[in-house]
């Protein structure tokens, strides 16, 4: 019983740390990607809401 409690206590501490690490890695990856992404893609994406009334252009990436 005592062992079980101890083991579970360790789990409690490791859980949040693992996922914090996952998040930080993911975030760094995401930031690097966002900085390197080509400009034409960003322009295309941000113009999507404005496209409604026009025929879709064929420069779609």
């Amino acid at each position: 019983m005592y062992k079980e409690v101890l083991r579970s206590m360790e789990n409690v501490e490791i859980f949040p740390i693992i996922s914090l690490v996952i998040f930080v890695l993911f975030f760094i990856g995401m930031a690097i990607w966002a900085l390197r992404v080509p400009k034409d893609y960003i322009e295309h994406m941000s113009s999507l809401p404005m496209d409604d009334d026009k025929e879709l252009t064929d420069k779609q990436p």
């Binding site: 409690v5 579970s8 206590m9 789990n11 409690v12 501490e13 859980f15 949040p16 693992i18 996922s19 996952i22 998040f23 993911f26 975030f27 995401m30 930031a31 990607w33 966002a34 900085l35 390197r36 992404v37 893609y41 960003i42 295309h44 994406m45 941000s46 113009s47 999507l48 809401p49 404005m50 409604d52 025929e55 879709l56 064929d58 779609q60 990436p61």
Partner: protein, 708 residues
């Protein structure tokens, strides 16, 4: 791709019109119920003298109506308008759209019927009983299937950021709703939570917090990313920022739930986790706000003229204020003030009235004339609405902040003798009455604006002609599209299913890390041997407490502060709640905490106090409950309740369901006899007797152990 044939297709405006109309109709109803509830806080007689319209029951009606009916229908109107246009494809199945529309309205009607009747699980924003919960899940999944089907049949290769927000909201709300609503039915309209005490509290606030995140925030960010650029006629300020802020937001939000439970019996590590992640949440939240406001760069001259943009700017500013306040409130020392006081009420209304309300209004004012191919009937009226709304928010929020600080300072004041300066909780509430009046006035202003809008929309519809479908054309997506040198995120975005799985993983990590340990690890809830299951009569009394929404004003959680332990008694321990299904910690104290009320007053005091609170506490703002004295206690489902509790692991002896009724009658007779000695004639089989039994039991179990 140049040789691809253009495909013609149609956008369905009718579903948008229906959801839009439902938004404003339910919005006005929900707000009026709110004003009624607010009025009862300074004028208890405004409960109209019956249980169905008394505060405890209409407060959940108000919250459900504005969250799920007003904001919900607004989300659906916006999604059904923007999604097909962003994806160059009509919604996948019209039948699903309409199933969604009518299903959702029927669910709202079910809530309007059941909540005043006292059929409630009492878990905040998840009050509806299990059959309605199942209906919500079915309708919600229909909505999701329709969205995913649309994404799969799209003609635009990449999903715009608004779509990500819609998708993440759909997935997360589904997960939250199902996990939090897990319960074991007793009968058709009664169930007990699958979790008990601390675990129930943790699951509930993991749900409650993320319902705010994924019902009131992320769908609206999606709407903002579509309708704000449309209204301002310029693309979003930084698309890169929107990508980073999306992933950070959905990842971090899931962790922050425990900040609703600081200083409670929740394990310390979970509380710390809640605080840390709440503070981190400030960054992505403000990322969204900054992105919204900067989209208007160079267009501020338009803001002064266009009511649509005015509403949107105030909405985004309110979002910024509320998401700054949120992390601040999750610091333990700030939470100590705000928790249980009107501060939280102010905070949610900055978000609700400012962010959700104003963005909805802006969106509808933009969309409505376009649906009817006309201009808005009266811009002047829309501007009046804007100012009524702004004044409404100010009159609502400021008095609430003042009320919170006033009450907190009074509650914690000690005199020179070391005694509480205001020993009676009522002294502090009476002080707040003028603030409550101002708040109700603020609400009245706000709802008048919404009514004005309803009229304006009606007249706009009348002067235009409805465009039921809009034609558009686009080339079909080329198959086997596989460009070289494409970065990973960009590739994900054209793989919606993979993207959805990824978003699910992101939200699940936070949820799993937070909840699983508390549920699995017994050591997180220290057991106290003297804590015993409720008796049959107390269990029935507890259900009366739940039915009447007592939890709306009374907490059952004494925090470890001297000014609380002096007032209420020994602070609450996690182990005391192991048989509480659902937990009844509450989130707001308009009346005193009741966790240690057991044995504090004689039975007769409770009897007279329930019949007319002012007879025992002059000036009390509690509504009278005379019907409890005459209502016969219905314990026909008692054996079923006992069996359900046994299935959930409550250690009633085997076969106790057969014996429970006899036990109940014995205990009730005892209480009735005791009351008779005190000069009160009451039948033993009345609701009041059961309620007294429950109240007298509250928090007494640990006294048994200390006296031993």
């Amino acid at each position: 791709m140049n040789d691809t044939m253009l495909e013609r297709f149609q956008y369905d405006n009718k579903i948008v019109k229906y959801f839009g109309a439902a938004t404003i109709i339910w919005g006005v109803i929900g707000m009026l119920v709110g004003v009624l509830a607010a009025t009862q806080l300074f004028l208890p007689e405004a409960n109209l003298g019956n249980p169905y319209t008394t505060f405890g029951r209409i407060r959940p009606l108000h919250t459900n109506a504005v969250i799920f009916a007003f904001v919900g229908n607004a989300i659906f109107a916006g999604v059904y308008y923007s999604m097909p246009r962003l994806l160059k494809a009509p919604m996948w199945k019209k039948s699903l759209s309409w199933f969604h529309f009518y299903g959702w309205q029927i669910i709202i009607l079910a809530a309007v019927l059941t909540l005043p009747l006292g059929l409630t699980s009492s878990k905040e924003y998840a009050e509806l009983e299990w059959p309605i919960d199942i209906a919500i899940a079915v309708v919600w999944v229909a909505f999701g299937v329709n969205m995913i089907g649309t994404i799969l049949t799209r003609r635009e290769r990449h999903m715009y950021v608004a779509i990500w927000f819609y998708l993440a909201s759909f997935i997360t709300v589904a997960v939250l709703h199902i996990v939090n609503s897990l319960a074991l039915p007793v009968s058709f309209l009664k169930s007990y939570s699958a979790y008990a005490g601390v675990q129930d509290a943790l699951v509930q606030w993991w749900y409650g917090h993320n319902a705010v995140a994924f019902f009131l925030t992320t769908p609206f960010l999606g709407l903002m990313y579509y309708f704000l650029p449309k209204a301002a006629n310029r693309p979003v300020y930084s698309y890169k920022l929107s990508i980073i802020h999306f992933w950070s937001l959905i990842f971090l939000y899931m962790w922050a739930g425990p900040h609703h439970l600081l200083y409670t019996s929740l394990p310390e590590w979970a509380q710390v986790l809640g605080t840390v992640f709440s503070v981190m949440l400030l960054a992505p939240s403000w990322g969204g706000m900054v992105n919204g406001l900067l989209t208007l760069r160079g267009a501020w001259d338009k803001v002064t003229n266009d009511p649509v943009l005015k509403f949107m700017v105030v909405a985004i500013t309110a979002y910024g204020m509320a998401t700054f306040e949120g992390p601040m409130l999750s610091f333990k020392n700030v939470s100590a003030i705000a928790h249980y006081t009107d501060w939280i009420v102010a905070h949610v209304h900055i978000g609700g009235l400012g962010w959700n309300g104003f963005l909805t209004f802006g969106m509808l004012y933009w969309m409505w004339p376009r649906l009817f191919k006309t201009t808005i009937y009266s811009t002047k009226m829309a501007n009046t609405h804007f100012w009524l709304g702004v004044l409404g928010i100010i009159f609502y929020a400021l008095p609430m902040y003042v009320a919170a600080l006033t009450q907190f300072l009074m509650l914690r004041e000690f005199d020179e003798m070391g005694k509480l300066a205001y020993g009676n909780f009522l002294q502090t509430v009476v002080e707040l009455v003028p603030m409550y009046m101002l708040r109700a006035f603020g609400g009245l202003l706000y709802v008048s604006g919404a009514i004005l809008m309803g009229y304006n929309m009606f007249k706009t519809a009348q002067q235009g002609t409805f465009v039921e479908t809009e034609e558009d054309s686009a080339p079909a997506l080329a198959k086997n599209y596989n460009p070289r040198g494409e970065f990973w995120h960009r590739a994900w975005e054209r793989k919606p299913i993979f993207f959805a799985v990824l978003a699910t993983v992101a939200i699940l990590i936070g949820g799993i890390v937070e909840i699983i340990p508390t549920i699995l690890v017994k050591s997180n809830v220290p057991t106290i041997s003297s804590v015993k299951p409720y008796t049959a009569l107390e269990l029935e009394g507890r259900d009366i407490y739940i039915k009447n929404g007592c939890v709306g004003c009374h907490s059952q959680m004494i925090r470890p502060f001297r000014f609380e332990t002096e007032r209420y008694g020994e602070y609450s321990k996690a182990g005391e709640y192991v048989y509480d299904r659902p937990f009844l910690w509450g989130s707001k104290r308009t009346g005193p905490d009741l966790h240690r009320v057991g044995g504090k007053y004689p039975d007769s005091w409770h009897y007279f106090h329930m019949e007319d609170p002012r007879s025992m506490s002059p000036g009390s703002l509690m509504p009278p409950y005379p019907w409890l004295v005459t209502n016969e206690l219905d314990y026909s489902d008692l054996p079923a309740k006992i069996r359900t509790m046994q299935k959930l692991g409550v250690p009633y002896p085997e076969g106790y369901d057969e014996q429970a009724v006899a036990d109940l009658q014995t205990q009730a007779a005892g209480i009735a006899t005791g009351l008779k000695d005190a000069g009160v004639e009451v039948l033993p089989n009345t609701e009041i007797v059961a309620l007294i039994a429950y109240l007298q039991r509250l928090g007494t179990d640990i006294k048994v152990s200390s006296s031993n």
